[in-house]
């Protein structure tokens, strides 16, 4: 398994600002993913972060709102832009280490937008 850390663990932001979340893995991984978990809900995949190329976004998520970087095989960032209260969620990164479907998750970043 991989050890995954996220920064910040939580933040409170004002409407209209942006928050960048960092995800660091202790080993090189092929696949990194970003999920959103709204209060009391399940996890929804935002995008797959591809190293060296643009992220692959799921339906309903766009690059302008959720820009993602993946500069190397151990690190990725997710920015949530132009924040509104509806963006208040837990944002989680996960990594795939080779086993089909098996993913390991970071601890999450709790975002509250006022």
């Amino acid at each position: 398994s991989a050890v995954i850390s996220q920064k910040p663990s939580r933040d409170i932001c004002q409407r209209g600002t942006s928050l960048t979340i960092q995800c660091q893995v202790d080993s090189q991984v092929t696949m990194m993913f970003w999920y959103r978990q709204q209060p009391g809900q399940s996890l929804t995949l935002i995008a797959t972060a591809n190293q060296g190329s643009e992220a692959t976004y799921e339906s309903g998520f766009v690059i302008d709102k959720f820009p993602i970087s993946r500069p190397n095989l151990t690190f990725s960032t997710l920015t949530v832009s132009n924040l509104s209260p509806e963006d208040s969620s837990i944002y989680l990164c996960s990594v795939g280490t080779g086993g089909v479907g098996e993913q390991f998750f970071g601890p999450g970043t709790r975002l509250t937008v006022l």
């Binding site: 092929t30 009391g40 996890l43 996960s94 089909v100 479907g101 998750f105 970071g106 999450g108």
Partner: protein, 113 residues
């Protein structure tokens, strides 16, 4: 940490009981399934997986049953302990390299001492 289970179905059991958590999956083409446990303030943690060529798989205190006919998964936890209290999610995907996971709605398990 904050609870993620505010609006989720809840199963309440006594310590020592057996727990059964159910999940209906959506895609008949899915052929690989995972159960995750999410404790308050933490990310989901892998519990057990099963491929579609099996209908049962056992781990330590946990058993997953798969019924492909009705697209149903269940997670059985034997001798439930207070430390098992968490939200449990099933996830589905295709067994073909790197396909993305689709998560089910989740069930909160509350274990009373």
């Amino acid at each position: 940490g904050e609870s993620v289970g505010l609006h989720l179905p809840t199963l309440s059991v006594q310590e020592g009981d057996n727990s059964i958590i159910n999940c209906a999956y959506s895609n008949s083409a899915s052929d690989y399934f995972i159960w995750y446990k999410q404790e308050s303030g933490k990310g989901p943690q892998f519990i057990i997986d099963i491929r579609s060529n099996m209908d049962k798989r056992q781990g330590q205190r946990v058993t997953v049953l798969l019924n492909k006919t009705v697209k149903h998964l269940s997670l059985q936890i034997a001798a439930t302990q207070p430390g098992d209290s968490a939200v449990y999610f099933c996830a589905e995907t295709y067994d073909s390299g790197y396909s993305t996971l689709t998560f089910g709605k989740g069930t909160m398990l509350l274990v009373s001492p």
